[in-house]
Amino acid sequence: MAYPKDFKYTKSHEFIKVSGKQGTVGLTSYAQDALGDIVFVELPPIGKEFKQNDVFAVVESVKAVSDCYCPAAGKVVKVNEKLAEDPALINRDPHGEGWIMVIELTNPKDLDNLMDVVAYEDYEAKAEHHH
């Protein structure tokens, strides 16, 4: 799979795309593929604050319920309302239209703990092999 070069990645298969003080957060293509058809997304409320690794959303496929972990501390400034009507956007375009939320970063240093694309592709390949 091809992953955007300018994103940062978590071991639990979330991404964050940072632009200034804000970060767009979603699930990686690996995560959506492992989950299968996504049929429900429980979005966080605007204004809610999360620490790094807090559960910020729940994504449900036909068979499974999965927690999504926040890549970096932040305050929710925007959520992808389209997912309420069309949760499969995450399957179709995980790194684009299927984003989940935008946060205002409250501790940008958290980003240093994340993987860059090279590290993530290597990590993903190992997970795929193990799977």
């Binding site: 299968g36 058809d37 049929v39 429900f40 449900e60 496929s61 036909v62 068979k63 319920v65 309420a84």
Partner: protein, 369 residues
Amino acid sequence: MDNLRKTPNYDMHFKYGGKVVDFGGWALSVQFSGILEEHKQVREKVGLFDVSHMGEATVVGEQALAFLQKLVSRDLTPMEEGQVFYTHMLYPNGGTVDDLMVTKWGPTDYFLVINASNAAKDVAWMQKLAQEFPKVKVTDLSADTAELALQGPLAPATMQKLTKVDLSKLGYYHAVRKVEVAGIPNCIISRTGYTGEDGFEVFCDPANANKLWEAIMEAGKEFGIKPIGLGARDTLRFEASMPLYGQELDQNTSPLEAGLGRFVSVDKPTPFIGQEALKKQVAEGLPKKLVGFEMVDRGIPRHNYPVAKNGKEIGYVTTGSFAPTLNKNIGNAFVPVAEAKIGNEFDVIVRGKPLKARIVKTPFYKRKK
């Protein structure tokens, strides 16, 4: 995968792109192309399932019927040769050992299909009862039998290309044995399945299972046939309100509580194991009852989520899912009998939050005939 049991079609799962998982100790595909797509495929066209993990047994001998009459809760005396009955084996307390399919080949010759997860327990249960019947022989054929299921409205057209048996004369819940399918001798064709659609279950020697798989895929090519995984198998059976052992049925649940009374002969003239307990449930009222519900609030109910009314826990979800054909979130739940009325509302506790649900009529889905 090395520590898992493999069905005779193990290689087919990889050849056809299945996502193979550990399913109760068996290596089986949860999906091939995707659960939603596979579900739709079976409702609208035809799909092929590997169900070789299911258990099979034969009950043969002069006392075969007497033995089975004591073993299961449904009266088998009206069975015709070649007919298939869905029924239950019960514990003395009325709880369920397993649900099963019984096929009658002749007055002294029956064929049983039991759940994979219960096969060892079921065979031990039957062997124990068989000690009271010296003229009956129970044989576990699970390891010597492959089973494939072909389900969907185009299953008859697909199947007819592979056999000389006139399938227009093989009624629903009827079976034939010792027939040739795709040139494979000594097969059983049973017009049964667990999806709510028309279709067949075919049994053959495990050595021929891959040949049968490929022949069915080839015959169904013109109808767009696809292999179907366990994910869609569960959503299909659930929409059709067919119970799953471990969810709607278990050792603490009688088939009456699970809403399966039409398959139970409580007043069977010859006694069966669990009969007294069922009679008591009828006389005194059922302790709990299975209902179907749909979510009013947004959220998906799941297995074992609590059900509450006015903040008090009153029951639990047995199966819950997004229902692909209905495009709704639905579930089954056990609730007290007083609450089990169509239109009654209760809360399903989803991750700590009470979400409103309403009891609806089941089956959720019924095919048009």
